[in-house]
Each structure stands twice: as C-alpha cells, then as structure tokens.
Amino acid sequence: MKTILDLKIGESAKVEKFANDNLSCKLLTMGILPDTKITLVRKAPFGGAYYLKLNGNNIAVRENEAASIIIKE
C-alpha cells in the first residue's frame, strides 16, 4: 500500500482511499477525494510538511496527514 510519502518530488498519483477516518474528514473538506490527482511538489526545508498540488490548487499537509492518503499504484 503506497501513500503520498512514497511519491518522489514531481510525481503524481490518484487517491485510492484514506487510512484514517478522522483525518479523512478534513482531507475531504480540503478537496482531497478518491480519484483526485495529487502531485507532490516539494517537501518543507526542514522536512515534516508536504507541498501538494491538486486541481490547480496548492495545499500543505503534515507528514502524518500525507501518510493517511493512500494512492493507486
């Protein structure tokens, strides 16, 4: 099972499902849904945060938040 954490910088993938119900509510609200195409743009300078692009918009998430987004292989 791969998550956003397995993406390399610049890689994209479609969302399959979420590993954590609680976090998934928030992620859904931010527009991260199953089948949404997400691109990992970069990691924060000191790590810990991920800069994502979806539907032309940019979002920052923490490592544990990114880890709960399971992607299609």
């Binding site: 609680n22 509510c25 859904l28 931010m30 849904l33 970069r42 924060a44 300078p45 945060a49 940019n58």
Partner: protein, 706 residues
C-alpha cells in the same frame, strides 16, 4: 431575541475567499469589531445601504470550509446557523466563493443550500479569472443549483451594485429559500432525522442532521437535551464520522460534474506565476534564507519608521503632563493626573508606532500570501516545541513587541498550541528592553572590538539569542506539562500570490491598533494609578521627616534650588511605600546582587521595562534628563556604603541584565494575555514562571561572578 429590528445579512465563505474584502466594501467605516460571547473570535458587524436608504446589518462570519468545524472559528458558524433563535441568525446569506478555487468552495455552498436560508452565491476574484483566461458560466450554475449566482470582483469593486440590488430584492420578496435540496441523505441519516425532528420541533432536515452531529458542543443545548438527543440518535445506529464522510463525498460527486460544465479546464499544465515564485521562496536552502532576510528588512523598517513618531509621542505626553501641572492648582490630583495617569498612558502610547508598522507589514505579507509559506517551512521545527507552524508569525513579531505577537496567535486553531505560543512570546526580547540593555551592557562589556566586531554589539546579539533559547526551552517544558487535547492539524491551503488590497490592510491595522489601545489602556490606567500612589505616598511622619532632612542637607551643602528639589524627590521616594517595599524585598534580592534602590526600580518597572531608566534617574536624583549616558555615569559612581565597592560592578550588572531578559515586566502584555485567554489564570502563570526564571537566572549569574 434580535437586539435591533434591522435585518441581518451574513457573509459566509472559506478562508481566503475574499469575504472580508466584500465586508469592507459593503460597510466601509460603518463597522465595529466585538467578540462572540465566551470565545476569542472576532465578531465583525457593520451596516450597509442596499439602496434607497434601506439599511441592513452585515455580519462577517469567520471563514469556514464546511459545517463540520475544526476550530472555534468554524464552530461559531455552525452555532449560529443551527439555531434560528440565535441573535445573529441571518435573514439572508451571501456566500462568497473564490472562482479560482471553486471545487473546494462549493462544498459549504451546497450545505448552505440545504439549510434553506435565503442565499445568494457570489463568484469572487473574477478579475483574476479573466486575466488567467478561466471561463465561468454563472447562469448555468444558477440553473443547476436553483440559487442566484452573481460574479463579482472585490479588487475592482465589480458588480457590487448588482449584488446589493439582488440582496434587497431577496429580502423584500422571497423570504423562503425554495432552492431544491442538494444532497440526498442516506437511509440511516434520513431515519435519524425523522426520529429527531419531532423532539427538536425542527422543520429543516439538514439542520436536524447537523444537530445530530454536533449536539455535544452546541451551546444552546442543555445537558439534559444533549442526553435525549444522544439517545434518539443512538436508536438508528447513526455514526457521525461515517455519515460526515459519506455526505462530503456525496456532495462532491454531485457538483464536480457541474463545475466541469461551467468552467473550462484551468489546468493547462504549464507552471503558473505562483509555482515559479514558490520554486524559490519555499526552496530548501533559499526559502529560510529569504524568510530571515524579509524579517530583517521588516525590523529595519519598523525601527526606522517608528523612531520619530515615538519621540513625538513621548514629547507630547511630557508636554501634556507639564502643562497640566502649570495650569491646574498644585494638588495631589494634579500630580496623579500628570505623573501617574498621563505618564502611564504615555508609556503605552509610545508603542503605537511600532505596533502599527508591525501590523501593517505583517498584514501585507499575509495579504500577498507569503505567511502561509513561512508556516509551511517552519511547521516541523516548531512542532518539536509544542508550537505550530503558525506560531512563526508571533515569534517573529515579538521581537518588536509581544502585544501584537500575542494578538496574532488567533490563527492557530489548536488551543494548546496557541496557549503555549502566547505563554512564551514575551520571553523574546522586545524593543522596550533595548534602553535597559544599552545601559547595562555598558557596565559589563567594555567598548572596543573583538575580531573586528563591536564587542557590545556581540553582547546584544548574545542577549537576543539567550531570549530565543529561553522561549523555545519554556515551550518545550509547557509541551511536557500541558495535557494534550485535540489533535493538531496543519492542512492548509497555499493561496496564489496576489497584489494586496489596501483597504483590507488599513481596516485590519486600524482594528488591531484600536484593540491594543482600548484593552491595554484599561489595565494600564488602573495599574499606573496604584503604582503612582505607592511611589508618591508613604507613612506620614517619615515623608515629612524626609523632606526636612533633605532641606537640611541641601542647606549644609548649599545646593541650588533644582538640586534641592531633586534631593527631596529622591529622599521622598526612599521613604514612600515603594521605598519601603524596596527595602522589604532587599533580603530576597540581595543574593542577586541588588540593593533596595534597584528593588524600587524593579517594582516600578513592572508597569513597563523602560521605566527602569526613569526610576533610576529619580532615585539617584539626576537632573530631569533621561539621557542614558548621564545615567550610566551616575550609576558607575554609586558606591556600596559597607564594602566601598561600586554597586554596579560586573556581577550585579550582569545579574540585573539577565533579570530584565527573563522577567515579565510589562502590564500591557499581561492585559492582552488575559484578553486572549479569557482568564486570569494564564497571565498569572505567565508572570509567575517568568519571575522564577528571572530570579534564578540572576541568582546563578551573581553567585558565579561575585
């Protein structure tokens, strides 16, 4: 319930939708900022003329992503919309939607449709969409949703008149929202709603469902009601989390196809301007470098811009105090007015230039979209200390003044992280400590250079570093002690870079500065009266004796009139209540190397740190000037009567310096902490732990070096 007969129009939208810009356009100067009861969430309300002098109240509700709230800001929105009895319950909602972010912003729009409150949807940022070549067909969206849709631009004030006319029309004619229900509930949801509706006497399905989700924290529900609702909801195996996920996904899967119909694909694939800027600004190496350069520039600007206004304010208050003393008859009241209240108020007013410029620059950085990038970059590091990426704004601002810094913590949605940020912020060396540092470093570090650097400058840097270490260290300790509550999130959008809308910035700055003046002013007013009384009065005989003694000494040494008055002031201060207090605490502070005179300075500089210099000047009866050079000379000449050594030797000066680095000597900050935490508990803890830190810090330094 409603306090006025005027109708209420609520502005609702996601954060960054441009909602506040619309509020500023609609209400202009007819706006005021208050608080929602019990929480530190700003309540912005104003009135607008919809045409023909038809005035309505406009309320700018906090930004929210959905009716499933994550923060106290978002909870307010649900609190109001789920309760038609709420005094802020709107007669009409204007939903502000960023056309460039329409997918995410549609979620809340469709939730509002289902609440059946009269609704107008405005598509904001059409100016940006036009420039980017993004098309939108508002008529089609209007047909699909059954709600009036108006494209506007707050930046260009486009179509505002149409919006007003439509709002007028909507309030006049159609009281009901007859838009078709957007989301079809699941079977369990529907059964839960059907069971709960009779108990709540509710006529709206979606509102009933929201109460089923949120009854545990909704303030208008009593404990008994909560138990009843809980039992009713349990009958249908209703699971809040599952229902919420299904609802959110259900809504998205219905409106995403609409969006593809009305909007041409904006994903052209080539990097946007924002992408290109972020390649540099959030770069692994250049990102932090740029951040610190920007902050350095911000401080340079704050200090250089504030220099003259601060001088003018100081002079104006000094002039005001003197004039009062000349004009009014000599009495205790005149002195209270001029030496106590006016001097005390002057002590906070002098910070207004710095606070204004700080808010101005931070608001600009926020409006442009830079601050969220800083949050993204530093989140990880700050999390280690129990803080949040969003704390970076406070930590940086506190280098100028802790007050705006504490006020900026409202954006931190996690209560615990916000509290820790508030608690540690005053440890960072603010500008008010600079005059004290200047005097004391002069005693500790000789002028001259070390490896090409100015030695005293290096000492200054060391002090700042120490204060940052103390702040982060304290955060670390608070993080260990305070109980973990809610989960903390980062999940934050990184909006596209935009030119700032100046109107927003000016309103924002004005509102923050006024809050500071009013909130801090109230507390300072009281405390300066108390401190003045303590410093001016003492046991009667002793005060009288002091005056006689001073006159005798003056005769003996044949001093001139000014010198005599200074001597009287000095001896009176020694015999006043503050003087007694100073002597009383002397045993406690002598291990730190302080005598009772320094004790007096410590007590009076509780009002504000920079008072130290003024108090020292009075005690040593230095000619009316507060020139640091003169004061330093006088202090250097002070000799301990018992040992014959200088009082301000290396150890005492160093110890005093450390005391000023750590001690909480700013009543304005305590007043703001009280306001922001809504309790006396946190300012008291803040005062206590910083005092302990100061005491033991100085103790260690003095014992090591004496």
């Amino acid at each position: 319930m409603k306090d006025s007969s005027k109708e209420i129009v609520a502005l609702i939208g996601n954060p960054n939708s441009g909602k506040s810009s619309l509020f500023n356009i609609l209400t202009g100067l007819r706006q005021q900022v208050g608080n929602f009861p019990g929480v530190t969430v700003d309540k912005k309300i104003g009135s607008t003329n919809l045409g023909n002098n038809y005035f309505v109240d406009v309320i700018d509700l906090p930004g929210a992503y959905s009716l499933y709230p994550n923060s106290s800001d978002e909870k307010i929105v649900v609190e109001i919309l789920s309760n038609p009895e709420n005094p802020n319950y709107p007669d009409l909602i204007i939903y502000v939607l960023d056309i460039m972010n329409i997918e995410r912003h549609m979620l809340l729009a469709t939730q509002l449709i289902d609440l059946k409150i009269p609704l107008i949807i405005v598509l904001n940022m059409t100016d940006i969409a036009d420039k980017a070549g993004v098309k939108y067909e508002e008529d089609l969206l209007e047909k699909k949703l059954g709600v009036k849709v108006i494209p506007i631009s707050c930046r260009e004030e486009r179509n505002i008149d149409i919006l007003k006319a439509t709002a007028f029309e909507r309030l006049k004619n159609a009281k009901k929202n007859d838009a078709p229900t957007f989301y079809k509930f699941s079977n369990i949801d529907q059964r839960t709603i059907d069971n709960l509706k009779p108990y709540l006497h509710e006529d709206n399905d979606y509102r009933t469902l929201l109460i089923a989700h949120h009854h545990q924290w909704l303030k208008n529900k009593t404990a008994a009601e909560r138990i009843n609702i809980k039992n009713i909801v349990a009958q249908t195996n209703f699971e809040s989390l599952k229902s919420q996920i299904a609802e959110t996904m259900g809504r998205f899967s219905k409106f995403v196809p609409y969006i593809h119909q009305i909007q041409s694909d904006k994903n052209s694939g080539k990097p946007s301007v924002t992408d290109r800027i972020d390649n540099v600004i959030t770069h692994r190496f250049f990102g932090p470098l740029i951040f610190f350069s920007i902050m350095l520039l911000v401080f340079q600007l704050i200090f250089s811009w504030s220099e003259y206004p601060m001088e003018w304010i100081e002079k104006a208050f000094a002039w005001g105090g003197n004039t009062l003393q000349e004009v009014l008859p000599e009495s205790w009241f005149t002195r209270l007015l001029s030496e106590g209240i006016i001097a005390g108020l002057g002590g906070i007013m002098v910070f207004i230039p710095q606070i204004t410029f700080l808010f101005l620059l931070v608001s600009i950085l926020e409006e442009i979209g830079y601050m969220s990038r800083a949050v993204f970059m530093f989140d990880k590091i700050l999390q280690k200390f129990g803080l949040n990426g969003r704390s970076i704004v406070a930590l940086v601002s506190s280098g100028a003044c802790a007050i705006p810094a504490i006020m900026s913590t409202r954006t931190i949605s996690n209560r615990r992280e916000r509290l820790i940020t508030i608690m540690i912020t005053p440890l960072i060396s603010c500008s008010a400590r600079i005059p004290v540092y200047t005097v004391l470093i002069g005693f500790i570090v000789p002028a001259g250079s070390y490896m090409g650097f100015n030695q005293q400058g290096l000492a200054f840097m060391g002090i700042y570093l120490l204060s940052i270490i103390a702040a982060l260290g304290s955060a670390f300790v608070f993080n260990l002690i305070l109980k973990k509550e809610d989960e903390s999130y980062l999940m934050m959008e990184l909006p596209i870079y935009k030119a700032p809308i100046w109107k927003n910035i000016l309103f924002n700055v004005k509102e923050k500065v006024l809050t500071f003046i009013i909130e801090a002013g109230k507390v300072i007013f009281v405390i300066s009266i108390i401190l003045w009384c303590l410093a001016s009065y003492g046991p009667k005989e002793k005060m009288a004796a002091a005056e006689i003694q001073a006159t005798e000494i003056a005769n003996e040494r044949s001093l001139n009139e000014i010198e005599t008055l200074q001597l009287i002031a000095s001896l009176k201060k020694e015999n006043s209540f503050v003087g007694h207090l100073g002597k009383f605490i002397e045993p406690a502070i002598s291990p730190l190397g302080f005598d009772w005179k320094i004790g007096i300075a410590l007590i009076t500089s509780f009002a504000a740190r920079e008072v130290f210099v003024g108090t020292i000047a009075t005690i040593y009866s230095i000619d009316g000037t507060e020139d640091e050079g003169t004061i330093r000379e006088r202090m250097a000449a002070e000799v301990n009567p018992i040992t014959g050594n200088p009082v301000y030797g290396f150890a005492t000066s160093f110890s005093l310096l450390i005391f000023y680095v750590f001690a909480m000597q700013c009543m304005s900050t305590l007043a703001i902490t009280k306001r922001e935490t809504k309790s006396w508990k946190w300012p008291i803890i803040q005062f206590a732990y910083m005092s302990v830190l100061a005491y033991f810090g100085s103790l260690i330094i003095f014992q090591l070096f004496s």
